[in-house]
Symmetry: C2
């Protein structure tokens, strides 16, 4: 892909030690795009960051890091997505501390799909891992993209289940995207890069560090519509993710278990404080407002007459259009239109655009 | 005990086939006590019951049944408690269909104590029975009287646990109080008659009949402040009891379990519809509003100085008094007063009266 001329400036801000996401957002708010920030005199930036950070901004080491990131992004299926990018996930813009940019490797369009975070203990039970994989497989089969953190145990099982369904899976990493942690999941990470998506907000080469994981957890919940905890001890990272989800206004789900199992205590604590108890994928689907599983979409298609060109496509025209306009044009309910849009999107006939818009995908001439 | 001269009239109404509790309450509302009802001309009663029921009212078979009940009640620790009796449990008066009278065998005063229903499957798992017994023992130890239905499985385990603590246990039967169903629980029933309380609203000799058990379940929840379901299938009798409890404004608690266990599905359904998930006796105690476990009472006593005459007794005088008045007299919080009252009641120094009143119990002269 052609490198975005502004991307180097985004990277320069993001890769400067001492400039955190909130400082960067303040600079963008006051001065505009990164290129405009960087064109300011140092004295104008003095109130925003420490002298050390301002010294670093123009340093050789930052320039080298920017070059490295640009050459990483030049490889196939590698992306650096900035706040200004139309493919920045709208849900992530809603969180209190969205990263100025993140790195992605794989099927970038998965970030525009409805996602569900599935997380839990690294030291899960055999039954817990099986539950995670089965929930993930069923929910991915219903069209949800399964988001998790590539940890051992529940996370890995959730990714495997996600890969088995058409919703696929997104792994949000706590390290640089060019590293795999833990090493034991490297084959899984390679599969996800090919059939799903790897995402990280950390600079290339950032090693695993305990303090980065809670920060990473807010992105796992942030790109998803809800968060399902399968097995978790009290005071575990999974509960941090669940708390992030609740703070971000996402639905929180938890799977119950024996009152004598330490790995159910975290789930029970969540249910006591308001999380939905779920026993099956259907329990999750029926609670996710605004999401209509593929079953509903398929039923609608069957009803409309199998094999026939679906009517909705004819109403779409060739310009981006939103659900309300389609309802009016087609004389259908918002629910019917959303189901049909999802089916069309999965069939590759339309694409979802930022801002709740949808557009037909045209076949190339001669195809 | 001296037989209540009006008791025969109460029994005559209650034992007449075709006069249900609601008909009897209507008659009492319109004419006063049963003796007044029975002194009316038959024409005045015609609108209330069928001719067959009015014929039966004065029949030889009803008179015989009344005699049998009176001679049953003349035995030690046997009681027939009518709506007019001060020992009729105040909580039971709150339900929509309180029985006009009920039979009781054992420690009648247990009905004035704070009670908790613990119910569940007859076909419980070994772990389920163990959980029931442990919850019951801990909660009885904290001063709650454990109420259940003398069924096999969870019920029996709950009664055993209740007997092990000072709260003891109440079994509400679905048969006449002179029968034990199921037979396998006859040794347990005998223990409950001696150390706890058996209760039934059904006439002596009423055999086990399926349609009487749901009716009985409303009394299990009705005499208790809350209802804890340990293990239950969906569409089980335990869920009927839990629904009664919710309808009666009682707290409903449920113990979670594996999503793969059929006997957890009833509990999970309850939690989904608003029941509190509980993992321990403490979870129950902290949710039961207005109940202060013995631990709190003991702490208060220790604080006040062990072995000293507690101050509250001096503030009680010799007339019935309510908690608000005691708070004002003793300068204590309602919580402190309630805790201390519970301790004094368990020590046999005071007695709880209907209407939230308490009274000192005096030692006999020369004792």
């Amino acid at each position: 892909m052609t490198p975005d001329p502004g991307l180097a400036s985004w990277l320069q801000l993001a890769l400067t030690p001492g400039l955190g996401p909130s400082t960067i957002r303040k600079l963008l708010r006051d001065f505009g795009l990164p290129q405009a920030v960087l064109s300011r005199r140092r004295s104008q930036l003095a109130g925003y960051a420490s002298p050390a950070a301002l010294d670093a901004l123009d340093s050789a080491s930052v320039r080298e890091a920017v070059e490295r990131a640009l050459s990483w992004a030049a490889q196939p299926q590698h992306f650096i997505v900035t706040l200004a990018d139309p493919s920045y996930p709208p849900l992530l813009l809603e969180i209190t501390d969205p990263p100025p940019l993140f790195y992605a490797h794989g099927r970038l369009e998965l970030l525009q799909r409805p996602g569900l975070a599935i997380v839990g203990s690294r030291n899960a039970t055999v039954q817990g891992e099986r539950n995670a994989e089965e929930f993930a497989k069923a929910l991915s089969g219903a069209g949800l993209t399964i988001v998790s953190g590539l940890a051992l145990g529940i996370d890995a099982a959730a990714h495997r289940g996600g890969l088995a369904g058409q919703g696929s899976t997104i792994a949000v990493l706590g390290t640089g995207i060019d590293l795999v942690y833990p090493q034991r999941n490297s084959a899984l990470a390679a599969q996800i890069a090919e059939h799903g998506l790897l995402v990280s907000e950390f600079a290339l080469g950032t090693p695993a560090a305990a303090h980065n994981f809670p920060r990473r957890n807010r992105l796992i919940s942030g790109v998803a519509r809800g968060c399902l905890v399968i097995e978790a001890a009290v005071a575990s990272g999974s509960l941090i993710t669940a708390r992030s989800a609740a703070d971000q206004g996402r639905e929180v789900f938890a799977v119950p278990g024996s009152i004598h199992s330490p790995l159910s205590k975290g789930c029970h604590a969540l249910i006591k404080s308001g999380a939905k108890l779920v026993e099956s994928a259907d329990d999750v689907l029926s609670e996710l407002s605004g999401f209509h599983p593929l079953a509903a979409a398929n039923a609608l298609t069957a009803q409309a007459g199998a094999g026939e060109a679906p009517g909705l496509l004819a109403h779409m025209g060739h310009d981006p259009v939103d659900v309300d306009a389609l309802c009016a044009r087609a004389g259908l309910s918002a629910e019917q239109v959303s189901s049909e849009l999802l089916r069309l999107e999965l069939d590759g006939r339309i694409t979802a655009l930022p801002g709740g818009l949808f557009q037909r995908l045209e076949k190339a001439r001669g195809a």
